[in-house]
Symmetry: C2
């Protein structure tokens, strides 16, 4: 890895998402060597991926170069690599570019899509956890429209413009809303020779409510917003399979669709080599104590989506979203510094700042700890919070300008097929790795 | 193709570049059906591709969705397709999505990289005519830096950060300048553990002057600017071969480099099926008369880079750049309308508005017909003209904001490897097609 061994203890952080970044920032300017490893050279602001997928934002606007974030930090090293395995006994990480020893290891590998073992769905459905995946969805949606124009067989044409989104969490709801807005304002103008009424957007949720985990009012309101936008919301319907042609469910309704987006589950991106006892099977998250320490280890920590800290209030770990990740990363950095200085450590207590989701223009739902509201004001709050949370001044400005433009012009202009998905990659796994 | 046959004559335009777009715009609201075919669903503003390649701009900022351009136009059809062959006898075009009959055919297929038959160079060097190709260069440059960090063998490390740009035209000059600015302001901060003095940027020109076709003063000044930025300019040196490791030349100097960008030639993207006499061998351009009519045909026209209109002043056709393309497209549209109305046609006379190139911050050269100037003011003129020429209000605003940011912060922030080039695609032809 070509990183000098110094007298300072070495902290290796795997993953430059919300958790890893917060930890790395917190460890700056200490008597420590920090090595950050990520398979991308950028941090991804995942909450806005759905806007990249639907032509509202450019991919580079929600990504931030990791090296830049640490430009002026001493004794910091970034390495573009994938982790293969951890050798906990030897305090060593094996990666695609060689091995590295650590004194302290922080796992912040995040989460990946959970297909719950269904290889058919994994093969044929789209997922949206990374920038390339979001771009693949953008390309596929547009390519299917281009193809639908040419299709004279009605059934085949309908399948090309039938969109099925599985999962009624924030990702599913926001994506369905954004597609519905494209259907309303953009696609009829772009494809005047296509009967856009034939386009269907189906949002399928296995339980009885959308945005599970948010308030009842927000859940109901989001459904109302989606329906107003023309989305077909299916509740209490479980998707069983998808063979590339038909989505089969446990109900009466099946869906012939060329585009299925799987947003029905995530699981921890656990790495090999940890004591198997500490990895929770169902969601592949790593069990940690209240100091984010991986159970049964002295110098390995896990934070963010990949960590499962079972508490009284959160029996199955904290929600897999940005806030717990950031808070865990920050506290862990403080605790590591405290431990080095022989000070007392602080256990993690999650401060729930609330949750929010946007459905469309002037339509969002916000649950703050003491105040829940929906509609136009919620939408402005959603935008402000997301702008504020974006990393990088340039990104903030560019996203803001795009939003102003999209709002004023009722438009989403980056509907470009830069790298075609379908023509070359249909049913290939190649793109998913990127 | 699923396009209705109406009583209006059908004009098929192949290519949505500067020429094709100008022609299509000029034919709006006439008693004509216009069909525009392109293999991308967007127009590319090629003069700024080098900024995408060097992390200064996002790809979507210099691309514009073709469908949007014609949102409100009656009897206009866009089709995403590649042209396979023209059947001039039957007035028919064969494409990847079926055949289409035409009454009038306009070929505006532009140009592709000319490797002059050297398959080695074609295989191992990078080209920059499309957005995906520019993104490939961006990825490769950054991937090579990441790899150089790890390389302990000095010779191999030097080859990874040795950049060879072949061709001293505007593309080569602008790309070399932009890389030099990255070397100056960004890369030392991003890669503090690499000796950035070891990075070399070589610009190789086979003739004795850069920016051939521009004024002597601009040519000299651009060389001076490049040298000031630390670019090694090689004149009167001809590249003979590149085997993926070493660039061999007809001089004493050879270059061990992992990144070679070929900007030494373009050729017309002529299509199959035309009478072979009308295609000029050397540059694959199509011979046209002063009305842009393809010689020996009555209803086939060629405009822009692919067309070669031999005139007294331009013995080998007009320069292959935006201005002649736009002017030819506009006039051709007017002439087609005039012919339908039985009016007199106007022969094409190229109005040379001048040429310009930017080398870096505050450094550009501008040749106007009556005024040639270089330096800061030229740089502002260059920016203003390019902003003004960009298609789309959103693109203008976003590019402007990025430029302001880059100028104030001495930065180029979109240095992201969204789709890795090297890891998967080294020595594969796959990406070039996209």
């Amino acid at each position: 890895m070509n990183i000098p061994q110094t007298s300072s203890p070495r902290v290796v952080i795997v993953g430059g998402g919300f958790a890893g970044l917060a930890a790395a920032r917190g460890l700056e300017e200490q008597e420590l060597q920090v090595v950050l490893i990520d398979k991308h050279n950028y941090h991804t602001f995942q909450p806005l991926l759905y806007q990249v997928a639907t032509g509202g934002l450019e991919p580079d606007s929600i990504a931030f170069p990791l090296r830049k974030r640490f430009n002026d930090v001493e004794n910091f090293y970034f390495r573009l690599a994938e982790v293969i395995k951890i050798d906990a006994e030897k305090n060593r990480v094996e990666t695609s570019i060689g091995t590295i020893d650590y004194d302290i290891l922080i796992l912040a590998t995040g989460s990946t899509t959970n297909f719950f073992g269904n290889t058919n769905i994994e093969r044929y459905a789209m997922e949206m956890k990374t920038v390339p995946q979001a771009l693949n969805i953008r390309s596929l949606v547009l390519e299917n429209f281009e193809e639908a124009l040419l299709e004279t067989n009605l059934e085949k044409r309908l399948a090309l413009i039938n969109f099925v989104i599985v999962g009624g969490g924030p990702t599913g709801v926001e994506l369905a809303g954004a597609l519905a807005e494209m259907k309303k304002g953009i696609l009829p103008k772009d494809y005047p020779d296509l009967d856009i009424r034939q386009m269907k957007i189906n949002l399928i949720q296995s339980s009885g409510e959308l945005l599970k985990g948010m308030s009842d009012k927000s859940s109901k309101k989001s459904e109302e917003f989606l329906k107003k936008l023309g989305v077909d919301v299916w509740k209490d319907l479980r998707v069983l399979d998808y063979d590339g042609e038909t989505v089969t469910t446990d109900g009466e309704d099946h869906f012939k669709a060329q585009t299925v987006i799987w947003a029905a589950g995530v699981k921890g991106a656990a790495v090999d080599g940890l004591n198997t006892e500490c990895v929770i099977e169902r969601a592949c998250r790593i069990k940690v104590d209240e100091y984010s320490k991986v159970k049964g280890n002295q110098n390995i920590y896990a934070i963010g989506d990949v960590a499962c800290m079972e508490t009284k209030e959160y029996k199955f770990g904290h929600p897999m979203m940005a806030q717990p990740a950031i808070q865990q990363g920050r506290l862990l950095a403080k605790n590591i510094i405290a431990e080095l200085k022989g000070k007392k450590l602080k256990p993690f207590v999650y401060k729930d700042k609330g949750a929010m989701a946007t459905i469309g223009r002037n339509k969002a739902v916000v649950d703050l700890p003491k105040w829940k509201f929906q509609g136009v004001f919620a939408w402005f709050v959603w935008m402000f919070v997301h702008l504020f949370s974006l990393i990088g001044f340039r990104n903030k400005v560019i996203v803001f300008m795009n939003w102003v433009y999209n709002y004023v012009r009722f438009d989403r202009e980056t509907r470009l097929i830069i790298r075609p998905y379908k023509r070359k990659n249909k049913y290939s796994f190649e793109n998913e790795q990127a």
